[in-house]
Symmetry: C2
Subunit: 148 residues, 2 copies
């Protein structure tokens, strides 16, 4: 399955999150060419500020593999991870990070903390951005324009 | 209950975590002078890289209050929060952050990402460090020296 197909699944999770009234962001963890976990944001449903799509997908993948570290696994997420998630992705030893839209206000990969460039970051994934960017950005824009 | 007593409870959680084979770090969430949640690290037990003491304490406090945001609550933790937890503490709108030992290698408050000083940080707690520092540092030093 090519890169864009995995991102399509992450976008589907983002749409489902939006339909539940959550910020529409989705993530997928892939290992050996197969999806092992997928998630959308659930911060409201779970009353948990850490329940971002990336952290939920990592948690679920760790449960599937019975391993808190996901060496060799890749993560696809529709938006540039925030600083919390950027660090979580590092801790989980994710090999490659693919993300859609950039997040100037809250991103922690190419904005702000730029965690993977810090001396306190002990594992940095390879980062590929801009995949499915237009769809991911449109989902978020529609969501926030409807809320206003 | 004065500040040092709350940190003593966090240190007790750190000791309990160490006894379970987890990295000995503990955290407590306090609101209106009362402890509403406490936790030690559980990353190994839960196979969850996000199960740091701070995030578990915040999650439990949010469950108790049925609110993902903990405005007016304070967090006590035995070690300088990592970048992931520093961001989670911001997202939870914690009012004051008290921590014990500094963490040059992995801290995200006064080291590395220095999240609260970033333009992508939209709420910064008041930070007080060095409370119970010697006890917190000794617990970690003993734990890692026993592992070697």
């Amino acid at each position: 399955m090519p890169t864009t197909r995995f991102m399509d699944v992450a976008l589907e999770e983002a749409r489902l999150a939006g339909a539940r009234g959550e910020v529409p962001i989705g993530a997928v963890v892939v290992k050996d060419g197969a999806i092992i976990a997928r998630a959308g944001n659930e911060t409201r449903a779970l009353n948990d500020i850490s329940a971002h799509a990336e952290i939920l997908a990592i948690r679920r993948a760790s449960a599937v593999l019975s391993d808190e570290r996901l060496a060799g696994a890749d993560l696809y997420v529709t938006l540039e991870p925030c600083t919390m998630c950027a660090a979580a992705i590092s801790f989980a030893r994710i090999r490659r990070l693919y993300y859609g839209a950039s997040d100037e206000k809250g991103g922690g990969v190419e904005h702000g903390a730029r965690f993977y460039a810090q001396p306190t970051c002990h594992h940095a994934p390879d980062v590929y951005s801009g995949i499915g960017e237009a769809d991911a950005a449109a989902l978020l824009k529609d969501f926030f324009s409807q809320k206003r």
